[in-house]
């Protein structure tokens, strides 16, 4: 029986521990059933002498293997002992044995964990080492060895087993305490002159209490299993009735009377299951209490989602949003604050000739046309949180289309939906994404896999997390080329080295052989650019490709992107929050806010005459350090527009 991983129960918040775990358990059906079962078990153990119809150890020749009946409600065993009485007394000894192991393990583990975690120093290293030692050996082998010396005593073996199990508590408490030890509120308590004992009891014990209770339920289950195992092997104290010894007795009659095994086996299995379920329910309940904080964090990171109308509806307690309500929510302007005036989309007209790219050539055919795109995330309650709403944009060959807006404006979500690589639960809920005549909003996953890399490529924002740390940079470049272009390994390697050189990496072979953690962020971003263009895409989606880089590196990466775009004549969607990048690279820009495009048009005309309040505010924000903000905005936009 393996020890439970102490890390499974992370240090839970103090607040969570204070909420009455017991009351929550009563509300959870599984928890309630487990508690009732264990409660009955304890009661029958306590009142075994009153409940048992006969003495558990009195053998009677004429009752050998008697069937269940009036004298023996559950029958009698191979020595003619009453099965029900034995079962009741066995419950007593089995539970008491498990309790002994549990108490020994908890006392040693918790105290050692507190001391090692709170005071550290030599005790820390010694006890951690000892814990590792104890966990390295199979418990049953140690118990067997101990029994060889000490003889068959259930109490002794359970006490020894408690010592063997103590690392489970030790590691748990140790991890929680060393995490809390340097928290500011503990420092504050120390500065305020509280004694160590008081700090431990007030601030630290409350943190570890709940995880220790959960661990205790698991450990009790393991102790019962091991004890039953020992007795089943016939190594236990045969004078004491226990579930394991009953099973051992029944096992000898497995061919003639397999029924005898049912009672002890069910008792062991149900008790272990009840304890494990109890632990799981407690953990789930605690995590649910700690949940909202976590979820809020995730929303910013994974979904980068502004809460628009539909989400408002769901957060005020509406269980599900009907189709009708959803449609209404989508149609209504995304007024995130009441009373705010929502402007219609400001569209600046294209120049007469359709505009020219940075190389001076006219733009090519239309590559991508997004119409009325809406992206939403399915919520656990069945509603949909809409993060992109009524977005339309197009990209021609050779054209760079900037998507600008603050964090959470939906620009990255728009970019991901073109690739159809939205995070879990996210999907296109309305509109179309037409790419070279195909509607990507409704394409199958197989069709998308064919397009990705070959036709549409992607450069991510954060270079380091976008490389797989377990593979060399070279293999991550070679693999897609072999799959997409069907190149041999040698051809792909050659091409990868060429690409690395092309993106300005000084020693391509060395970078090719390196692991991601061995290169700098700027290098990693170049590698990702090389990977994106490796299969000659028509459309490149760059999601804030310079945000995570140093300022000096940013300029280099931007000019690399400009060169590559001109060289390969790609259409580009460039997601950014930086107007400097837009001015530098883009032909056309769409300003996004709260999941919608508020203003769109050629870069020149928007820089010359921004009309939407939000666009103007963004321009103003560039010059936050200036004194006379209002006037400077005009001057700056004019200057930028002339570039």
């Amino acid at each position: 029986m393996p020890l439970p991983d102490p890390q499974l129960t992370p240090a839970l918040e103090e607040r969570a521990a204070r909420v009455s775990l017991f009351r929550k358990l009563l509300k959870n059906p599984v928890g309630l059933i487990a508690l009732i079962f264990l409660g009955l078990l304890v009661l029958s153990a306590i009142f075994a002498p009153l409940l048992a119809p006969a003495d558990p150890n009195t053998a009677s020749l004429q009752d050998v293997l008697a069937s269940p009946g009036a004298a023996h409600p559950l029958g009698a065993d191979s020595a003619g002992r009453d099965v029900l009485s034995r079962l009741l007394f066995a419950t007593r000894f089995s539970l008491a044995g498990a309790l002994l192991a549990l108490v020994v393990a908890a006392v040693i583990g918790v105290i050692a964990g507190l001391i090692a975690g709170y005071f550290g120093k030599w005790f820390d290293s010694v006890s951690s080492w000892l814990a590792g030692l104890l966990m390295a050996l199979p418990g049953i082998v140690v118990l067997l060895a101990a029994r060889a010396v000490l003889g068959p005593s259930m109490w002794l073996s359970m006490a020894i087993f408690g010592v063997l199990l103590s690392p489970a508590f030790f590691r748990l408490v140790y991890a929680s305490v060393s995490a809390v030890r340097n928290e500011l509120y503990v420092d504050a308590a120390r500065v305020a002159g509280l004694s160590d004992a008081r700090i431990i009891s007030r601030h630290i014990l409350t943190v570890v209490r709940a995880p220790v209770i959960i661990q205790a339920a698991m450990i009790a289950g393991i102790a019962i299993a091991i004890q039953a195992g020992l007795d089943f092997l016939g190594l236990g104290d045969m004078s004491v009735p226990s579930w394991g010894s009953m099973l051992n007795d029944a096992f000898a009659k497995i061919y003639t009377n397999p029924d005898l095994m049912i009672w002890p086996a069910s008792a062991i299995a149900l008790t272990c299951i009840a304890l494990t379920l109890l632990a799981n329910v407690m953990r789930d309940e605690l995590e649910r209490t700690a949940g909202p904080v976590k979820r809020r964090k995730n929303r910013n990171r994974a979904a980068e989602a502004p809460v628009v109308k539909a989400a408002h509806l769901s957060t005020v307690g509406m269980a599900t949003i009907s189709e009708e309500e959803r449609r209404l929510a989508l149609e209504q302007p995304a007024a995130s604050e009441p009373g705010e005036i929502v402007h219609p989309v400001v569209v600046h007209p294209d120049p007469e000739d359709g505009g020219r790219s940075s190389t001076g050539n006219p733009f090519g055919e239309e590559l991508l046309s997004v119409r009325n795109l809406a992206v939403g995330y399915d919520q656990p309650d069945g509603s949909i949180k809409v993060v992109v709403n009524d977005v339309s944009l197009r990209v021609r060959r050779g054209e760079v289309h900037g998507l600008i807006g603050e964090s959470g404006s939906g620009k990255t979500q728009t970019a991901w939906s073109v690739l159809r690589l939205l995070p879990d639960g996210g999907r296109v809920i309305d509109g179309s994404i037409s790419f070279e005549g195909k509607d990507l909003a409704h394409a199958t996953e197989k069709e998308m896999t064919k397009l990705r890399g070959a036709k549409i490529a992607y450069i991510p924002q954060e270079p380091m997390s976008n490389l797989d740390a377990s593979f060399t940079i070279g293999s991550q470049l070679v693999e897609p080329m072999r799959v997409v272009l069907g190149l041999s390994k040698a051809e792909a390697t050659k091409r990868a080295l060429g690409l690395l050189e092309r993106v300005g990496i000084p020693n391509p072979q060395r970078t090719f052989d390196a692991y991601p953690h061995e290169v700098s962020g700027g290098m990693a971003q170049r590698v990702l650019i090389a990977g994106a263009i490796s299969c000659d895409p028509d459309l490149l989606i760059a999601d804030e490709p310079t945000t995570a880089l140093d300022v000096t590196v940013q300029a280099e990466v931007l000019s690399l992107l400009r060169e590559l775009q001109a060289e390969l004549n790609m259409g580009v969607i460039l997601v950014t929050h930086n107007f400097g990048v837009v001015a530098d690279l883009c032909d056309r820009v769409s300003v996004m806010r709260a999941g919608r495009i508020v203003e769109t048009g050629p870069v020149r005309s928007i820089f010359a005459a921004p009309e939407h309040e939000y666009t103007k505010a963004l321009f103003a924000a560039i010059l936050e350090e200036g004194e006379a903000r209002g006037e400077l905005v005009v001057a700056q936009t004019e200057k930028e527009g002339l570039r």
Binding site: M1, P2, L3, D5, L133, M135, A136, L137, P138, G139, I140, V141, L144, A145, A146, R147, A148, V149, G221, I226, G229, F232, L233, G234, L235, F251, I254, Y255, P258, M261, A265, A269, C272, I273, T276, L277, W416, L419, L421, P423, E445, T449, K450, R452, G453, A454, I456, Y458, P460, S465, N466, L467, D468, S470, F471, E479, V483, Y515, H517, C535
Partner: protein, 313 residues
């Protein structure tokens, strides 16, 4: 990488030394009057003294220990007090049987756990819940109960397998396979429960990583990314759990061998324990420690291959 392996090897040797020392001290000091126990209560004081003399138990403890160590390092753990067989022989003839059970169970639980864990992580919904239930039951129900259940259903009621007995591989490969099927399944179920849960968790984590999106944006299919990249990254924590499981299975094998009457280390251990055959128990403890150390070393090396950062640290 070599330094990494050497360091792990050194800490493994230290572990074996410490465990042997503690075990020796406990077994020889805690045992009380060992000769009396061997000979029984009816033996005369004279024969007991003779026996003590014969076993060398009258010497100072450190002398006995030095004697034991000097022989143990060359693989000589003495002879059994009861059968007169050499300890190393009694163990080595059985160790292969136990290892084949445990390694078989480990491999099966690894494979099944990966499939179940990935399935649960990708589908979520009911497959996820099903895997959770299997995990809870597999974890909660002791291995020997599962073994007993398998015997009753598949051997006694259905008659598909022989309930007990072991066939050497050399005698009949198919007989061998049939004789270890149920024991291996009984052992593997607990392992599957623990590892599947771990794989599920790490795959869900890994799927949320940025590089998964980037790799897929390059035209790699979801399956390819999961089975090549995600699993390799999820592999580290899963291997750590597998190492813990292996130790657990080694203990579980002791009981499962008893249920199926398989002549492995477990049987020797139970007999030696019942008799108080201390040289044999000592040998078993050391051999177990060596197995555990070797397995952990192998797992550490695998970790190094999976995760380039481990190699450097």
């Amino acid at each position: 990488m070599l330094r990494f392996i050497l360091r792990r090897l050194a800490s493994g040797v230290v572990l074996i030394v410490v465990i042997s020392t503690i075990a020796f001290a406990l077994l020889y000091v805690g045992g009380g009057d060992i000769a009396r126990r061997i000979l029984g209560q009816t033996a005369t004081a004279e024969t007991v003294a003779q026996k003590t003399q014969q076993l060398g138990l009258n010497r100072p403890l450190y002398e006995q220990f030095v004697d034991w160590v000097s022989h143990a390092v060359v693989g000589d753990f003495g002879t059994s007090w009861f059968t007169g067989q050499e300890v190393i022989q009694a163990i080595s003839s059985r160790v292969a049987v136990t290892l084949s059970l445990v390694i078989g169970a480990t491999l099966i639980s690894a494979i099944v756990a990966v499939l179940l864990g990935v399935w649960a992580a990708r589908q979520r919904g009911w497959p996820d819940r099903l895997v959770q239930i299997i995990s809870v039951l597999g974890f909660a129900i002791p291995g020997f109960l599962i073994a007993l259940g398998l015997v009753i259903v598949f051997a006694i009621n259905l008659g598909w397998f022989k309930p007990t007995g072991f066939v050497q591989f050399a005698t009949s490969p198919s007989g061998w396979l049939s004789s270890i099927t149920l024991p291996v399944i009984a052992l593997a179920i607990g392992g599957i429960a623990g590892v599947a849960q771990q794989i599920r968790g790490s795959v869900i984590d890994a799927l949320r990583q940025d590089y998964v999106r980037t790799l897929r944006s390059r035209g790699l299919s979801a399956n390819r990314v999961i089975y090549k990249h995600v699993l390799r990254n999820a592999g580290g924590p899963a291997l750590a759990v597998l190492a813990v499981q292996f130790v657990g299975l080694l203990g579980g094998a002791v009981i499962v061998e008893q249920v199926f009457a398989i002549p492995g280390l477990g049987q020797v251990a139970v007999t030696a324990t019942n008799q108080g055959d201390i040289p044999l128990v000592m040998g078993l403890v050391v051999v177990t420690a060596v197995i555990v150390v070797v397995v952990n070393l192998v797992i550490d090396i695998l970790q190094g291959f999976l995760n380039p950062k481990v190699r450097l640290s």
